[in-house]
């Protein structure tokens, strides 16, 4: 692997036995894992091409324990890598050889459900889907729904600002939070928000969300729960070209319609999904659009007609409206299984996550085909078309020498292409280690330095999840330097008032 992580610090490695002894003073013996075979289970997250055995794994179950671990880590100058369910696709919880892996899986309780205030307070290890399961008998749900929702934890969702198929209408994690409790490096416990809206100072909930475990450890989350829409109906639309599908998506939005979900797949993804689990997709279509409309029954009926008309105007060859709930779920089944389905024809795949302005869709897809030819690799495409978030799945064979590097190079080219047309490196998976070295394609050195100064306000010694997000680590003292000293005149060439 080409990835360079911060060099392990000899002093930390030398103090490993002492660290473990001290950790066992904080935690029960079984919650401090130092055995190599047991540590192996934590050596990677869902970005499995990068692996590293952690120095030690800890599994606390109370907030005071987390606080004590963070205080000890600061005292002994040891690095900490937080981990939720380990489903990160960008290597956000890739361990460090000289770092404590802080597993939050024991924080698995729903603490308080407040229906009148439409809020649920949960521990960070609760899975995304478990929140909806806990409230659905009262007609409520938690809106963000990443594909990994059965496994991924809400703490990880906050760390990565996870999205899902419904975020076009209902927003990402950041738009659905009311409160957080975090523990800083050093052990301070900070409460943010509660059951009310908006923060009383800087929007630190907004800052924490998507900070990829670099600023603090999330120990409690209060989410907004929403009343389920009365009706949700699906449309399955097949098109003879990718352009027609892309134009249909643009026209739906331009008509003022914001569907609950608006997804698109290309032919390779359609065939793979239908082979994996027959779901009646039009196998000869070059693009497939799944459009879900939700709301009151009368509104949905009205919108189905409008969307069908827009699809016809864009040369749709197949227009199917789900007549039953079972049929709606069948429309989704292929899309939701698209990743494993592509995995089945793989044998391996690399999932990318760029976002582009929607209007650039056909240009980006045709460029991507050219790139595929150049790299001599296949790529299947599934998109959250409504918000321009692409998930190209690059197929490769890890058993062939050099194929991983080829896939990575192809992926990097796709992301550069996204940035070139006004898009971004990652829409919902995070930068992690995967896109870290591409940050300069989007940000100048000054942009990255300002972001790192914010990091320094939380973690001045770069102990929390270092080596992620930022391609180069600057010492905080160096970043804070402004050549301003009392008695000395800074910027001597500037005019005085």
């Amino acid at each position: 692997m080409a990835l360079t992580m911060p060099k392990p610090e000899q002093e930390i490695l030398a103090n490993r036995d002492l660290l473990i002894r001290r950790l066992r003073e904080i935690l029960p013996a079984e919650s401090v894992i130092d055995d190599e075979i047991e540590r192996r289970a934590y050596e990677c997250d869902a970005l499995t091409m990068y692996r590293q055995l952690p120095l030690v794994v800890v599994l606390p179950e109370t907030v005071p324990q987390v606080s004590a671990i963070m205080a000890l880590a600061a005292e002994m100058n040891v690095k900490v890598v937080p981990r939720g369910a380990g489903t990160s696709l960008s290597g956000g919880s890739l361990p460090l050889g000289d770092g404590i892996l802080l597993g939050m899986s024991k924080f698995n309780k729903v603490l308080d459900i407040d229906y009148p205030n439409r809020a649920a307070r949960v521990q960070p290890g609760v899975t995304n889907l478990a929140i909806t399961k806990a409230v659905e008998h009262r007609g409520f749900y938690y809106a963000p729904d990443p594909s990994s929702q059965i496994a991924c934890s809400i703490g990880g969702n906050v760390g990565e600002n996870s999205g899902g198929v419904h975020c076009l209408k209902y927003g990402l994690t950041t738009n659905n939070l009311l409160g957080l409790q975090i523990v800083l490096m050093g052990g301070e416990i900070i409460e943010l928000g509660g059951k009310h809206l908006d923060s009383e100072g800087y929007d630190l909930i907004g800052l924490m969300t998507g900070s990829e475990g670099l600023l603090g450890v999330i120990t409690e989350v209060t989410v907004r729960i929403l009343q389920k829409p009365q009706t949700a109906r699906g449309l399955l639309l097949g098109f003879p070209t990718l352009d027609d599908g892309g134009n249909c998506v643009a026209d739906i939005i331009a008509a003022g319609i914001i569907p609950g979900g608006l997804e698109m797949m290309d032919n390779m993804a359609i065939i793979a999904a239908d082979d994996f689990q027959p779901c009646g997709y039009p196998r000869d279509a070059e693009s497939l659009v799944i459009c879900e409309l939700d709301g009151t029954a009368s509104e949905v009926e009205h919108l189905i007609e409008r969307v069908s008309a827009i699809a016809r105007d864009n040369n749709a060859t197949d227009i199917r409206v789900a007549q039953t709930e079972a049929e709606r779920l069948q429309f989704w089944a292929g899309r939701k299984n698209a990743f494993p389905a592509v995995g089945a024809i793989g044998p391996d795949y690399l999932c990318m996550d760029g976002t582009i302005p929607r209007k650039q869709l056909s240009y980006v897809l045709s460029e991507m085909r050219a790139l595929a030819k150049r790299h001599n690799l296949r790529v299947a495409n599934v998109f959250h078309a409504g918000d321009g978030n692409l998930h190209p799945l690059i197929l490769y064979d890890a058993s062939i020498n050099g194929e991983i590097e080829k896939a990575e190079a192809f992926g990097a080219d796709i992301l550069r292409l996204c940035v070139k047309v006004g898009g971004v490196l990652t829409g919902e998976h995070g930068v992690g280690v995967e896109k870290r070295d591409l940050m300069h394609t989007m940000f100048s050195e000054a942009d990255l330095e300002q972001q790192q100064r914010v990091k320094c306000a939380f973690d001045p010694n770069h102990r929390l999840n270092p080596g992620k997000v930022f391609p180069t680590l600057h010492r905080c003292a160096e970043l804070g330097h402004m050549h301003v000293h009392k008695g000395k005149v800074p910027f001597p060439d500037l005019p005085r008032f």
């Binding site: 205030n117 009310h196 923060s199 302005p357 914010v454 804070g480 005085r496």
Partner: protein, 405 residues
Amino acid sequence: MDQFAPSDEGEIIDFVRAAIANEAPLEVAGNATKAALGRPVEADRRLSTRSLRGIHFYEPSELVVSLGPGTTMRELTDLLDQNGQELAFEPIDYAHLFATEPLGGTIGSAVAVNASGPRRIKAGAARDHVLGFSAVSGRGEAFQSGGRVMKNVTGYDLSKLMTGSYGTLAILTDLTLKVLPKPEMEQTLLLHGLGDQNGIDVMTEASGLPHEVSSLAHLPAGCVAAIGPLAGQTAAVTALRIEGPETSVAKRKADLQEHFAPHRAEFSVLSDAHSKTFWGALRDCLPLCAHASDIWRLSTAPTEGARLVETIRKSGVDAAAYYDWAGGLVWLATTTNAETAAPEIRRALHSSGGHATLIRADASSRAGVDVFHPQPTALAALTARIKNSFDPERILNRGRMRKDF
């Protein structure tokens, strides 16, 4: 006060660097329509972004607009209106509270105060609609964050941090915002004559129904007359707003009316135009503007709204109040002086949860009490470190949010 209105980023960098060199803080403003919001700024010079105005691009089908922060709300609103779109977060216009020209404020200032409106519970606040920005920090360095697309998790979300920072971190030079189609139409169902707690109960119930009520407010008797469509009325109203295609609005309104029939309250309905006027007035604090008094804005758990106001009154603070956000936003007018009222209001919030901001008061009150809710020690220290990371010399809007920065 000396005022400068640089015309590009380079000039702003020069101004900030000169301010650092001279240890002379700057007041940061757009058209200064919100200059009376927050603590009085300790600066002799004002840097205005009003010359950074105009639309860079507006793509209705992409739901995105990129513009200079000095663009006025009137220019932006008119442009979006021509395309059947809007800022879904319905930013409050402080013009009535501060006696300035309606829609004369800039979009930059709406972002700086994290403006929102009655649709906050459904559509979010400014923070939820800023996709990206460029700015000059208090270090005199240009930087940018975010982008122009809806889904973006590349790097820290500094847009959230900038939004609501009252110009204390950096000076905006560019903004990219998410815009949305306007609902086809709206209606408001009014229930007349409910007491505060009953009004809150109705709103709590309505917000747990699948009828997608997009705004919920309760105006006690005495707060009603200032709202145009209700002129001449005196009884309290509890208002439920329904937006969308006409057939859907009609059906949901009928369903809600049927649901709340057992309350035996008297119902009436505000048609599209009246409904818009009603929520606009409520958003801009018209029911309390005319009071010759201080005005506070309290954010709390929605079910606690009425109890909170009762606790504040019992503490001896006289208070006229109304409720938005299903009870979660309390607008409160009081003639009790700020030094006396502030600790009582904040004590009351201690049990209900939430925070209070002193929105309108004379300068000496705003200098004397915490305008923004005081923070616990660890959070206050973290906030100061974040401020330092953008503006270590405390050049930008010194004193505006906190006395110590």
